[in-house]
Symmetry: C2
Subunit: 168 residues, 2 copies
């Protein structure tokens, strides 16, 4: 399930990439600088759009790397334009393309930690379910909600993307 869930997250990064296009199109239609979106936020003490995108990217990148026991690539969080956010999202999609189901064998029992946990650890299974999955969707949904709140024409289909519907 780690691989399958990370594949789903990769799909959602692809959707996020399209929302960036929708934001740029909306800015062009309304004749304002599309990079205004980078600093928009839903509350003054909440992360702005760029940081929501960066956190979305980091959550899945770090989850894949940690659960597979690999060193993640560095991203210094310097993006200040929609084009730079496009590049960030696409670089993480490309990174995730390099994983296979086999990379996640033994992921459930790996010991995961991060500086914020002050020496405590989580199992890979707990970390993924309690931390990585809810955080990923928290940030990707906030990125969507910031755009939606500010008039960008995105809807639930743009959020979910194509579904594997088939004939009965």
């Amino acid at each position: 399930m780690y691989f399958e869930t990370i594949q789903q997250m990769k799909k959602m990064l692809g959707q996020l990439d399209k929302w960036l296009d929708a934001a740029a199109a909306f800015a062009q239609k309304k004749s304002f600088d599309p990079n205004v979106f980078v600093g928009l936020r839903l509350a003054p003490d909440q992360f702005p759009f760029a940081r929501q995108v960066q956190s979305t990217c980091d959550t899945v990148k770090l989850a894949a790397a940690r659960l597979a026991g690999k060193a993640p690539p560095a991203h210094p969080d310097t993006e200040q334009t929609l084009d730079e956010l496009h590049a960030r999202v696409r670089s993480v999609i490309a990174y995730l393309d390099g994983f296979t189901a086999k990379d996640f064998e033994g992921a459930a029992t790996r010991v995961i930690t991060q500086p914020r946990w002050e020496g405590k650890v989580m199992t890979g299974a707990d970390y993924f379910m309690e931390h990585a999955v809810p955080n990923f969707f928290f940030h990707v949904t906030h990125a969507y909600a910031i755009l939606r709140h500010n008039g960008v024409e995105v809807g639930k289909r743009d959020y979910l993307g194509a579904l594997s519907l088939r004939a009965p």
Copy 2:
């Protein structure tokens, strides 16, 4: 993984239940009717808070029922107060308490459909990963974001809840 993920969703319903308390406390502090929250939304053509809570509840209720081949309990979406939303959330938590891992044996290959798909179907595996999981987090995060946007004092810890941190 179906059972484990639905357990995580149940945990998040418990967090949502606490956000309702935080919303009521904020309304009391600011001396306004707490039920104002029920109709707030992030965009004029997006679901209001009550519908975000109802959709959160329905997404996990229907996922559990469909994947286990059970008939879900009906909820007529009549909630108009925070107290009624509390009751809705708690009734779904109680419903989910009745499931065990064994209920989800064979869930991956079940044939799932709903009226909106116009006769098409999805496998249980695809439905869960592509539809139920992203939709659940979409609506629960929007419920959070509407409160946060309107000043309610909730933060990331209130979103995630307690983590299974342990000594190394």
